[in-house]
């Protein structure tokens, strides 16, 4: 039974969880307040005792229903929305009827012990039952509706976030792909082993870029990917490209979105090194700052370059948004643009989530 998966449209929260139980208690108390206020003026003598009594009753009914929903969740989650709602509502009514009956019997018993005459039975009893069931049906219906709307809203938000992540999935520049293919075509004649290495590196890169969205990888792996990228580019650019890695101080097991560093290195090559005739050195430095990892990527810039190559900010914004999605409000991407230098600093939580 437990292996069966819940239907995606199953909307009831898990009533076995403390959070949900607390919500149930709060709802029951609010309804108790409402009912008591409807029966009395504000705070006459009878208000508090009546509120206590109503609360007592409603808490039994609500918690009993929550317990029943908790136990039957496995079966309920297999039904469609309409059937599931009806079953849940019937369950509530049954529990309410049982609690009503229980409280009636309890009162009777107390009355007998105190030597008071039994209440005129049938009519009063039925009236109370009917009233309680009506209140339960209305309050329960509203609660179900509330859970349903909340669930819909949450799945909408989730779907939207997923779509955004998918749209943001890191893309490798086509230019890079075809230039690398050209490099490999050339290497197959002069340096077959180099060609092999380049194909393995490219495969790693594309495997990373095709990775399922939302997947996190250890920082060490991301650095490996960035280094594979560097090797491919070095074949192409030769001595013009140098990368100085100072990353030993980084928390290598920190989890990051795949391709968070490589696109910035690619930017540094594409916008920084490639337009520079003698080439230059990209500096990647990393450190841990308390609970955060800080990575800086700096590259020289051709000062005479009048117009920057297009697509300058796209990769950067992409990285920024993906970090924000993974670490809401906790990650920053800072850019320092000097006439002859370009510096990007990433800062994100270095925790290892369970």
């Amino acid at each position: 039974m437990s292996t069966r998966r819940e239907r995606p449209d199953f909307y009831l929260p898990d009533f076995c969880r403390a959070q949900s139980v607390l919500a149930v208690v709060l709802i029951a108390e609010l309804v108790a307040m409402l009912l008591t206020l409807a029966r009395h003026d504000f705070f006459p003598e009878q208000f508090w005792p009546d509120l206590a009594q109503t609360s007592m009753f409603l808490l039994w009914a609500a918690l009993g229903t929550a317990a029943a929903l908790c136990m039957l969740r496995g079966q309920l989650s297999q039904l469609d929305v309409a059937k599931g709602s009806i079953v849940a509502l019937v369950l509530m009514l049954v529990v309410t009827a049982l609690v009503t009956e229980g409280s009636w019997q309890f009162t009777e018993m107390m009355n007998r012990r105190l030597g008071m005459p039994p209440a005129s039975f049938d009519l009063e009893h039925l009236k109370e039952l009917g009233r309680n069931l009506a209140v339960c049906a209305i309050a329960g219906g509203l609660a179900l509706r509330y859970f349903y709307v909340t669930h819909q809203w949450r799945s909408n938000v989730e779907a939207e976030a997923q779509a955004r992540v998918r749209a943001l999935q890191a893309r490798i520049r086509p230019h890079f792909l075809f230039n690398s293919m050209n490099t490999i075509a050339s290497l197959t004649r002069s340096n077959p082993r180099g060609a092999e290495q380049a194909i393995a590196d490219l495969s790693d890169l594309f495997r990373a870029s095709l990775r399922e969205h939302r997947e996190r990888i250890p920082l060490a792996h991301e650095i490996e990917i960035a280094r594979a990228y560097e090797r491919v580019e070095r074949l192409r650019l030769g001595d013009r490209l140098k990368v100085d890695w100072q990353v030993d101080a980084l928390p290598m097991d920190a989890q990051v979105p795949a391709l968070i560093l490589q696109p910035l290195l690619e930017n540094a090559v594409y916008h920084g090194i490639e337009p520079l005739k003698p080439g230059g050195t990209i500096r990647v430095t990393g450190r841990q700052d308390g609970k955060h990892a800080v990575i800086t990527i700096g590259n020289p810039v051709e000062p005479k370059l009048v117009a920057r190559r297009p697509g300058h900010r796209i990769g950067l914004d992409n990285v920024r948004q993906r970090l924000e999605l993974m670490f809401p409000g906790e990650a920053t991407v800072e850019v320092i643009e000097a006439p002859e230098h370009f510096l990007v600093t990433l800062r994100f939580p270095a925790g290892v989530p369970a």
Partner: protein
């Protein structure tokens, strides 16, 4: 008579591959190689190649700028652009290119492009250089940048 070709590319391996392809074609001769726009202009004046295989994206003087300078030569060589990604097609077109090849270049495509470049006499090329322009036969446009 063999067609004399100058290969221009900033990447050593790209240069190497294209040179190999050129050398393997019949009736074609590698006149020289250059690693940038400035060097291309220098060698074009000295070696007088009939065709230049010109990479577009190069540091310093890029292929498009070099092509504009080449077109002002008294006997301009035919320019065939080579590029990894078709985002410069329109500009290449404006630069009066005799051809446009995608990297990695296929030997057959190179042969075709060289054959086409060989056909026109100097006269239409000179006219092109003066800005009258020839008939536009093919065009590939990619406006979107990656």
């Amino acid at each position: 008579m063999k067609l004399r070709v100058l290969v221009v590319d900033d990447e050593p391996l790209a240069r190497e591959r294209l040179s190999h392809l050129v050398e393997e074609l019949p009736d074609v001769e590698l006149a020289g190689v250059a690693s940038g726009g400035e060097e291309a202009l220098l060698l074009a004046g000295r070696l007088k190649p009939e065709v230049i295989l010109l990479d577009i994206r190069m540091p310093g003087m890029d292929g498009l700028e070099a092509a504009h300078h080449l077109a002002r030569m008294p006997e301009p060589p035919a320019v065939i652009f080579t590029t990894a990604f078709e985002q410069h097609a329109l500009e290449a077109f404006d630069a009066q290119a005799a051809g446009y090849l995608m990297k990695p270049v296929r030997a057959e495509k190179l042969q075709e492009a060289l054959a086409r470049a060989r056909r026109p006499t100097r006269a239409p090329l000179t006219r092109i250089a003066e800005g009258t322009g020839g008939p536009r036969t093919r065009i590939a446009v990619r406006v979107r940048d990656e």
